[in-house]
């Protein structure tokens, strides 16, 4: 995979084509289409978080704030009758961007645990603000939003249309992340992860790089939040809860740090696991917690490392 010169390989194109054909499958009911929507949004956000966690070595415990702010920004416009998808997305990007700029400025000055905790605390401030501000509906959030409109006359009103909207977002996010990772910028990020001091001594303005990757990751996450508000027709403060940030992190870990594709699979896997397990038992958090513990202990490189495990099996080598 690393030998492929282009940002988008044929393999990725095939996967996207398969995903695009998914709504035509006979088993895809409305319910499953919306579940697929959630899975892809979660996957895309996990991928953008992977830019920070996997490539730069920074764990953000505050991505829920970017996600929730994006959702609220879109919800505020939709509530006021501005139903254009592009206006909502644009506004969400501006709002999330401004907030991310502040967080990134303060958080990237610190390393390791400090970064994790600072992003967490900033997110808690945002959560507390929205949770208790009646202008934004308090703990109920903003409910009952109208359907968004892509072009005049084309509303995102069916699950299939919502699905294609999120598929487009995933494709854009994937290309952005691939371009970032393959660029010189991305190489510097890896250098920072491996040895921040050495990167600094080589003359790189480390904080500027870290701020840059934070902004990219936050904006992609915010766009995901805006789309989620359009799909669910609400935005609640629960989207910003720090456990939500934890779920993004779980998705990245399940998928595999520093692989981009892994976190997409991890996010989708996590969403479907949560949905399936919670429909059978009410203690699904135990299942999810145990999955996370098992992954950290025995598969630190995530699901995608399974492939190389399978490949290195003796019976494969002898053939």
């Amino acid at each position: 995979m690393s030998r492929a010169p282009a940002a988008v390989t044929w393999r990725a194109a095939v996967v996207f084509a398969a995903l695009a054909a998914l709504p035509a499958a006979p088993f895809m009911s409305k319910y499953y289409l919306l579940l697929a929507f959630d899975a892809l949004v979660f996957g895309a956000i996990a991928m953008s978080l992977d830019l920070l966690m996997g490539y730069t070595g920074l764990v953000s415990f505050g991505h829920a704030a970017f996600y929730g702010l994006g959702a609220y920004a879109a919800a505020v416009l939709l509530e006021r009758g501005i139903v254009s998808v592009w206006a909502c997305l644009g506004f969400a990007l501006v709002v999330v961007g401004l907030y991310a700029l502040i967080v990134a400025y303060f958080a990237t000055g610190r390393r390791g645990i400090y970064f994790a905790l600072l992003t967490l605390i900033f997110a808690e401030v945002v959560y507390t603000f929205f949770r208790y501000t009646q202008t934004f509906g308090g703990s109920d959030g903003i409910q009952g939003l109208p359907e968004a409109v892509v072009f005049p006359g084309v509303a995102i009103d069916t699950p299939a249309r919502k699905y294609y909207l999120v598929l487009g977002y995933l494709a854009v996010a994937f290309v952005v992340c691939r371009v970032v990772v393959r660029s010189h910028f991305g190489k510097v990020l890896v250098a920072i992860r491996e040895n921040e001091d050495r990167a600094r001594f080589l003359g790189y303005n480390v904080q500027r790089y870290k701020m840059g990757v934070c902004m990219i990751s936050a904006l992609l996450t915010g766009a995901g939040g805006a789309l989620y508000a359009m799909r669910a027709a609400y935005a609640t403060p629960d989207l910003m809860l720090w456990t939500e940030s934890g779920e993004f992190i779980i998705s990245v870990m399940i998928g595999g740090l520093g692989t981009l594709v892994g976190p997409i699979i991890g996010g989708a896997f996590f969403t479907i696991l949560r949905d399936k397990v919670s429909s059978y038992v009410d203690w699904y958090f135990i299942v999810i917690g145990l999955v996370l513990i098992v992954i950290v202990l025995f598969m630190p490189r995530g699901i995608v490392s399974l492939r190389s495990v399978l490949r290195s099996r003796p019976w494969r080598q002898t053939t």
Binding site: V59, L117, E124, R131, W242, V296, P300
Partner: protein, 311 residues
């Protein structure tokens, strides 16, 4: 003329008295509340900061150990009908849970990046929280205070249980300080914080030190949970709110600095209870976050953090 002057003096006197009343009736209890809360928060933050210094792991499950302490207390009180026996048994039980957890999950990843520890403890927190909900149910529970009544203190009356809480937490904090400065075991733990590899080379069983310290920190958290339970309510999510405050305390005090944690715990405890006089609780939460962010901007390594420890 005379009348107005007298009126003025009267007004002055009443305002003086009002000010004194305000001090005794409003400010002083709140200040004491802050001290009580700060002392309990200190117990929680101490365990967190020692584990951080030792394993490099910010224990996300610490709040859940605090919660388990309160629930274990409920169970032991139901069994033995004594708060005091529960106060002894609950920390031991949670300490055992902590030791087993440490050996089973944290020990295998000592040599990996701290990031994995952070994420692992997040998973543990999920399991503990949901486990508690399954065992004890999700609704709010209360523990009756073992000490009732109130005592006149400095011109006001203050609940006896809170005074006991303050005394107990203070005694514990002093005991912990004595443990770390006067006993061989305490010195070994501090040495492990400094340089675990060197300690290993000197023939100390470092993994056992880690496990026992983790158990001790879990027991402290459990004790804090049980001690605060009669003041607050007991529910599965109770650790989540406390752990955020405890994180702030540890950051403010300087990561890995034990003295700093205790000082910061009192600062946050008092700041929180005084601020509630003028703001609603949500604003207070935001103000506390604001204090932390400000301190970090002015003094990035916290009150007593050593430079470079955590860079």
């Amino acid at each position: 003329m005379i009348f107005s002057r007298r009126l003025h003096r009267l007004r002055y006197e009443t305002s003086e008295r009002a000010r004194l009343d305000y001090l005794v009736v409003v400010l002083l209890p709140q200040l004491l509340h802050g001290l009580v809360f700060g002392a309990a928060l200190g117990l929680l933050a101490l365990g967190l900061t020692v584990i951080f210094g030792l394993l490099g792991v910010m224990n996300f499950a610490h709040g859940e150990l605090y919660m388990l302490g309160a629930y274990a207390g409920i169970t032991f009180i139901a069994l033995t009908h004594s708060f005091w026996v529960a106060m002894l048994l609950a920390p031991i039980a949670v300490g055992v849970v902590g030791a087993v957890t440490e050996m089973a999950t944290l020990r295998p990843i000592y040599r990996r990046e701290p990031l994995y520890g952070l994420i692992l403890t997040f998973g543990l927190a999920l399991v503990f929280r949901e486990g508690a909900r399954q065992i004890w149910g999700g609704d709010m529970r209360r523990i009756a205070a073992p000490v009732t009544g109130s005592t006149p203190v400095l011109g006001m009356t203050y609940p006896n249980y809170r005074l006991f809480l303050l005394a107990a937490a203070s005694v514990l904090l002093v005991a912990i300080w004595l443990f770390f400065t006067k006993t061989r075991a305490g010195v070994v733990v501090r040495a492990a914080v400094q340089d675990a590899e060197m300690l290993d080379a000197l023939g100390v069983n470092v993994p056992r030190v880690f496990t026992l310290t983790f158990a001790g920190s879990a027991a402290l958290a459990a004790l804090a949970g049980l001690l605060l339970a009669p003041v607050f309510t007991v529910y599965p999510q109770m650790g989540v709110e406390m752990i955020l405050l405890a994180f702030i305390v540890v950051i403010l005090g300087g990561m890995g600095s034990m003295g700093g944690s205790v000082v910061a715990a009192f600062v946050i405890g008092i700041a929180q209870s005084l601020l509630t006089l003028w703001m609603n609780p949500q604003r207070v939460a935001i103000a506390i976050f604001g204090i932390m962010i400000l301190v970090l901007i002015v003094r990035p390594r916290g009150f007593f953090g050593r430079e470079g420890v955590l860079e």
